[in-house]
């Protein structure tokens, strides 16, 4: 055999380890610094001045910031739920049926993914203006236009993930289920859905993260009064990044991580189907 190291042997090479380290630093250092500096006792937030939780308190009392934060969470949750359902249905339709305009349908579905976000934002804005979408509505309803916009660009991602998952599904499982006396619905509930579940969770998480941090489309579809977290942060940062922004961002990161962990726990194989 040759003296060349095998694929795993490379991890013993110094340069490779350094490279790996550099990648991790590049990826995670900004986030770590963001979190660390949320505890920084300094207004200008450039050098470390000591530990404090003041800015968490301050962020908490910053009513517009909290409102934007809540808006973002509400939009993300609703948009994720709707996109997951629509995306899953689209994926099922594409997976299960053959119909005349299928390639066209498939292309049209993927369009929101490839269209530049800015175009989509402008298009949605024009659309809402054209149909006369009411802009002055009480709170939860005022989020509707943004939510619709988010669903429009999130569901194709869900559809693609779920569709990819379904490729490996053995159709005879469904036939076996019906053969054993299960109705169409029981077959879906006990056989198809459990198989789809990891795809649904992955797709849903993807939709959620896309919605949480969306700036462009939100910016174009929000009414005059409505602010979401990313938009609010942007306007705050324009006047200098304070630890307050860091604090709120850290909270968002924590929420995202918690949701991901919950999703992964739900996905544990032995938790599937307690019929």
């Amino acid at each position: 055999m040759s003296d060349r190291p095998g694929p795993l042997d490379y991890s013993r090479k110094l340069w490779l380890r350094l490279w790996l380290l550099a990648v991790f630093v590049f990826l995670y250092a900004p986030i770590v610094i963001l979190v660390l500096f949320s505890f920084n006792d300094s207004k200008r937030n450039i050098v470390w001045r000591g530990f404090t939780l003041d800015y968490y308190v301050k962020a908490w009392h910053n009513a517009p910031l909290i409102e934007a934060f809540v808006n973002t969470l509400v939009i993300a949750l609703i948009a994720t739920a709707i996109s997951t359902v629509i995306g899953a249905l689209v994926a099922l339709a594409l997976w299960r049926f053959r119909f005349p305009v299928k390639p066209l349908f498939e292309g049209a579905m993927a369009l929101p993914i490839v269209i530049p976000e800015i175009c989509m934002g402008v298009a949605l804005m024009a659309f809402f203006a054209r149909i006369g979408w009411p802009t002055q509505m009480p709170w939860p309803l005022s989020l509707a236009s943004i939510t619709v916009g988010h669903v429009a660009f999130c569901f194709p991602f869900v559809a693609i993930v779920v569709r990819a998952r379904m490729v490996g599904f053995d159709r005879s499982l469904e036939e076996a289920s019906k053969d054993l006396g299960a109705s169409e619905w029981q077959t879906f509930r006990y056989i198809t859905l459990p198989y789809m579940q990891p795809g649904l969770i992955a797709g849903g998480l993807l939709a959620m993260t896309l919605s949480l941090d969306d700036f462009v489309i939100t910016f174009f579809t929000s009414g005059p009064e409505t602010l979401t977290f990313p938009v609010k942060v942007y306007s705050m940062v324009r006047f200098g990044a304070t630890p307050e922004v860091n604090a709120a961002s850290t909270l968002l990161i924590v929420i995202t991580i918690v949701l991901t962990v919950i999703a992964m726990l739900l996905q544990r194989p032995d938790k599937e189907l307690q019929a």
Binding site: S172, E175, A182, E272
Partner: protein
């Protein structure tokens, strides 16, 4: 069964077309209650399609299917009194063995208290006691197959459909499972319809066999009849090995025919009917005697020399080239350890058979 001798399955002029392809073409067939019935035929001949029409996964484009006297045209798969064992087994991967077996009872609302014992019983029937807690990926192919069997049998169907249930198993396991299936069928008293392209499997297991080709039903008969009296060249060729020569009817006196063949001369034959024009003459290889000297008596004998030997252990195939150039295969059981070396390639010999061993086949 108390259905007054009515067939369990009645297939009446059933056809199934996929676009231009007639996967099943005008098939009529009755299957009796309690019968072990095999559908046999080459790949693509429509066996699976016919079975799927019985299960309700395909709708016939012509004709009708009755099960236990009831027309199945409008009955969906989940309401038919039949269950199917799929070629891929289709064991639910996310459920334990016990949950798989219980599934068919749960979905129709059988009380939980009744399910447990019946699952135990079904698992015992296929000899999988103690496997209830396992997941399908912890089972061997043969075990998965038995889970699929138990899952179908627990429903107590009137007809059990099996689509090449043994084709994924190795030879030894397959032979074991063949015996097992026959034992099960006798134990549960359910009509079995099994699809196979393995003729030995069909011959050894089934009460009756239907041979299909290109969507058509060629012959339906018990194994022995199918083997000894095939009704056409295709069946003769498909079931077992066969020496086939083409012939021509040159004269007929009642049903007593004079047949001129290419390679086996001209002889007379009476099979009780008069075929038209070209015919096939066939002899099974194991009916042919291989001799060193010309036999006397009423045997038909031809001289030739050994052209090729193929040794299979329990038997050998010996190919003899006649003086006319015709090659005749004959099978000899290797009854003693020396027997297989008795003939060598090039040895002169005689092949002989009884006149009654000729098969007369329409082309």
């Amino acid at each position: 069964m108390s259905n007054g001798g009515r067939p369990m399955v009645q297939i009446e002029q059933v056809s199934k077309r996929f676009g231009n392809v007639a996967a099943v073409d005008d098939v009529s067939l009755n299957i009796a209650a309690n019968e072990f019935f095999a559908l046999l035929g080459p790949s693509g001949c429509g066996k699976t399609t016919l079975l799927r029409m019985l299960a309700g996964f395909e709708q016939p484009t012509g004709g009708r299917i009755l099960i236990d006297g009831e027309d199945m045209a409008t009955v969906p798969p989940n309401r038919r009194p039949v269950n199917m064992v799929f070629q891929s087994y289709a064991v639910f991967p996310h459920m334990t063995v016990a949950d798989n077996v219980a599934y068919g009872l749960k979905v129709v609302g059988v009380p939980a208290g009744e399910i447990g014992p019946r699952v135990e019983q079904a698992l015992a029937m296929v000899r999988l006691e103690g496997f209830g807690g396992r997941r399908p990926d912890q089972l061997s192919g043969g075990q998965r197959q038995r889970v699929a069997l138990a899952r179908a049998l627990i429903k107590r169907p009137k007809v059990l459909l099996l689509d090449e249930p043994l084709s994924a198993l190795d030879r030894k396991l397959r032979e074991e499972m063949q015996l097992e299936l026959v034992r099960l069928q006798q134990a549960v008293g359910i009509t079995f319809v099994i699809v196979t392209h393995d003729q030995e499997e069909a011959l050894s297991m089934a009460d009756r066999i239907a041979v299909m080709d290109k969507g058509k039903m060629l012959q339906v008969a018990p194994p022995q009849e199918l083997y000894e009296a095939p009704n056409c060249q295709m069946v003769a060729d498909f079931i077992g090995k066969m020496n086939l020569v083409s012939g021509r009817v040159t004269g007929a006196e009642g049903t007593r025919l004079t047949i001129e063949t290419s390679g086996l001369g001209t002889f007379e034959l009476d099979r009780g009917y008069v075929p038209k024009g070209e015919v096939g003459i066939a002899i099974r290889p194991e009916k042919i005697q291989l001799l060193r000297d010309k036999p006397n008596g009423e045997l038909i004998a031809w001289p030739g020399k050994i052209a090729q030997l193929a040794y299979f252990g329990d038997s050998s195939n010996i190919y003899v080239e006649l003086e006319s150039g015709l090659r005749i295969a004959c099978t000899r059981a290797n009854q003693s350890r020396q027997d297989s070396v008795a003939f060598k390639v090039g040895d002169p010999c005689w092949v002989a058979w009884q006149p009654g061993d000729y098969l007369l086949l329409d082309s």
